[in-house]
């Protein structure tokens, strides 16, 4: 049984369809990248899956449960974590605190209105672990807003990973990074992805990143899925080549 099962996902604004009848299945611990030219509907698709955007049509099933109508926070509570295209971190809180919030996210103690000091310390230790793996340990105590852009993108990934999600959605994690930062990020992600217990959906514009990280590739064009399969195969597909090379829209 697949972890994630989407059928006929559609998002329309009037006559314009940003996403048009997309089906998507993702197994547990599977890694899949979604690519496509600008305006293909990638971010819109992810927003619908994660609950940030209402669906005009279509269903989403997570672990067998129908989650189509759930808002973002309910999806997150069911084990869906995501990073955003435009960095969404808590700027005045420290980097460590940001990640600790990720660790704490699904724990029962989060509703505790008093005390909880010991549990929070444990959370900080776990958070520190994540920061170390992503090379941010040195900046743990800094306000997150003061980190360099590339480090902020990494921090977002750390927060999402710290939630130990079933499904991780990464929306252009290397966006705005320099070449060096991107290479470093790819190496880090490759290591983490190898041992993570989570299924990953990845959107990227940088095709080198995609080809290095994802064994499976989905291609969107004008809201429709035009390819879905092993990366090498999809790369060679004629329709994909045409979508990227021909027809300027």
């Amino acid at each position: 049984m697949s972890l994630l099962s989407c059928r006929g996902l559609t998002r329309a604004w009037g006559a314009f369809r940003a996403v048009d009848g997309v089906d998507l299945d993702l197994a547990e611990r599977e890694i899949c990248a979604v690519i496509g030219p600008n305006g293909a509907g990638k971010s819109t698709l992810f927003a619908m899956i994660a609950g940030n955007l209402r669906k005009s049509a279509g269903t989403v099933h997570l672990g067998g449960e129908d989650v189509s109508a759930l808002p973002a926070h309910a999806m997150a509570a069911r084990g869906v974590a995501r990073s955003f295209q435009i960095t969404a971190i808590c700027p005045e809180l420290s980097a460590l605190e940001n990640v600790r919030l990720g660790v704490q996210a699904l724990e029962r103690l989060r509703w505790q209105p008093l005390g909880g000091a010991a549990a929070m310390r444990r959370g900080e230790e776990a958070a520190m672990g994540w920061l170390e793996r992503l090379g941010l340990a040195g900046q743990a105590r800094l306000p997150a807003g003061e980190l360099a852009h590339g480090d902020q993108r990494l921090l977002e990934v750390a927060v999402a990973l710290a939630q130990r999600p079933r499904l991780l959605i990464l929306d252009e994690p290397t966006q705005g990074m320099s070449q060096g930062e991107t290479r470093r990020t790819v190496a880090l992600l490759r290591g983490i992805m190898a041992e993570a217990e989570t299924a990953i959906l990845l959107v990227e514009h940088d095709l080198e990143v995609v080809f290095e990280l994802a064994p499976r590739l989905i291609v969107l064009h004008r809201g429709r899925k035009i390819a879905d399969g092993p990366t090498a195969q999809v790369r060679a597909d004629a329709a994909v080549q045409e979508a990227y090379l021909g027809g300027l829209d």
């Binding site: 309910a74 420290s94 990720g102 704490q104 505790q112 008093l114 005390g115 927060v159």
Partner: protein, 307 residues
Amino acid sequence: MKPADPKLVLLAIALAGALGFVLPGHATTLLTEALILALFALSLDLLVGHARLTSFGHAGPWAFGAYIAAAQLLVLHIPLPLAVLVSGLATAVIAIPVGWLCVRTGGVTFAMLSLAFAQLGFAVVFKWNAVTGGSDGLAGLPRLGLPAGREVFLLFVCGVLAAAYLLAHGFVTSPLGRIVAAVRENEQRAEALGHDPRRIRLVVFVLSYFLAGVAGALYAGFAQFVSPELFFWTVSGHVLVMVVLGGAGTLVGPMLGALALFYAEHELSALTESWGLALGLLFMVVVIAAPAGLMGWLRAAMGARGR
């Protein structure tokens, strides 16, 4: 910002209570009123400072708590300590539907809605002569359940303030309190972490209103008189000034701000006619040049680093 060490704060409050036995009667009375206002400011800081929800209607829960306490003292003859707690709880209960309506919005709309509710309270109390005494208010409230004496009353106020501070501090540093901080910093991120921002804000709202109701009830016992003016938006404005001047989000700052403002007004209004003008100007200057208020200035002076 890292909250100040609670032990120091509790010590300061204890000292203030002890002062009652040393100071002349009139000074004790002033100190009592100042500390009640400090509690009022503390309650608003949870909303304005910690959750960053600017409210122009905090006089609402304050006055509501005062009137509920008045009812208990006058009609039901409930001793003041219990009446204070009951007033707080009653205010918290009312805060649930009011808060539910308010936290669905943010920014200006939230400020205006909170103001509207407080003004609505004013209108109701003003007109409902039979129950609330109308514009005359309710006078002669007895201080039931407490031994007589200003020093004793001051100790009582200090006790309540200390308990309230511990509650506020404990909340802010708790797991739930940290989530409130996340919601204020980045709502989208908080949602992605599985938290419903509206529900989280409602929790702070209710807690803030609870403490404001407690403060109002204390004031009713202190002044032994309640009137519709307690609801008026100028009262909301006043406590907001205290919070901003003291340093929003620090808990201690607003309490200090309340004390500073109370005493400054008391001293300077006797000296000069134009005190109000100076206050307005000072407030503007602080908002523009020193938005972190008194606490921010103190911290910068001590070279501390925020968390």
